[in-house]
Amino acid sequence: MSLKVTNKILEGIQQHIEAAYPDEGAGFLLGADGEVREIISLPNAREDEARHNRFLITPEDYLKAEMKAMELGMDLIGVFHSHPDCPNVPSEYDREWAQPFFSYIISRVDKGKTVNHRSWRLVEDRTQYEEEEIQIQ
């Protein structure tokens, strides 16, 4: 299992999550067949005091992103978000909210600078995540 991305996509993610620091930044991955072709960076809709360790994409933004993906002939294939100043492994909270089939890129941001990106997918029985390789094209 792997997720194909370009450096341009990763740069877009990096720009958004560093701008969001010390809060979590998030958005959608658009594409098809395990290949990210576009991202949609979104505001973190969580309340101010929770944004440092939680993110929320509202149903309204979710719906708009689905419509945008349809316009572009793509699908929503995942979500990216940052973990400011902590490891980029999924939390239990991440697992509770995880949706099937999505790739979840989690990026570590230390002191405002992106350290690295890792991608995860929920297994079908929802008990855990499996890491997937990020293939940079």
């Binding site: 998030a26 979710y62 991440d94 509770e96």
Partner: protein, 93 residues
């Protein structure tokens, strides 16, 4: 007479409902509607409800554009022609 609302799903969940984005299903209340959806598509259950039987937090349910909490929750009465949208959100931390 049976109530037969229309249900709309997020694209991501289409895999579990025969690749449909919307369909009609019987249900006089939201609870009945969800029960009948799961009778038809049992593989959807773990993605719709958590281990405690509660609706997963990434779903919000709207009836004719109004969130069910502003109506009568799961006991909201449904009628023919009503549109029930299972709208997803995304969160994590």
């Amino acid at each position: 007479m049976l109530s037969m609302p229309t249900v709309k799903f997020p694209a991501l969940m289409k895999y579990y409902v025969d690749n449909q984005s919307e369909f009609s299903v019987n249900g006089a209340t939201i609870t009945e509607l969800l029960d009948n959806i799961l009778l038809r598509y049992p593989a959807l259950k773990p993605h719709l409800f958590d281990a405690k039987g509660e609706l997963r937090r990434y779903f919000s349910i709207f009836v004719n554009g109004v969130q069910m909490q502003e109506l009568n929750g799961f006991e909201t009465t449904l009628n023919d022609g009503d549109v029930v949208i299972l709208m997803a959100s995304a969160s994590g931390g």
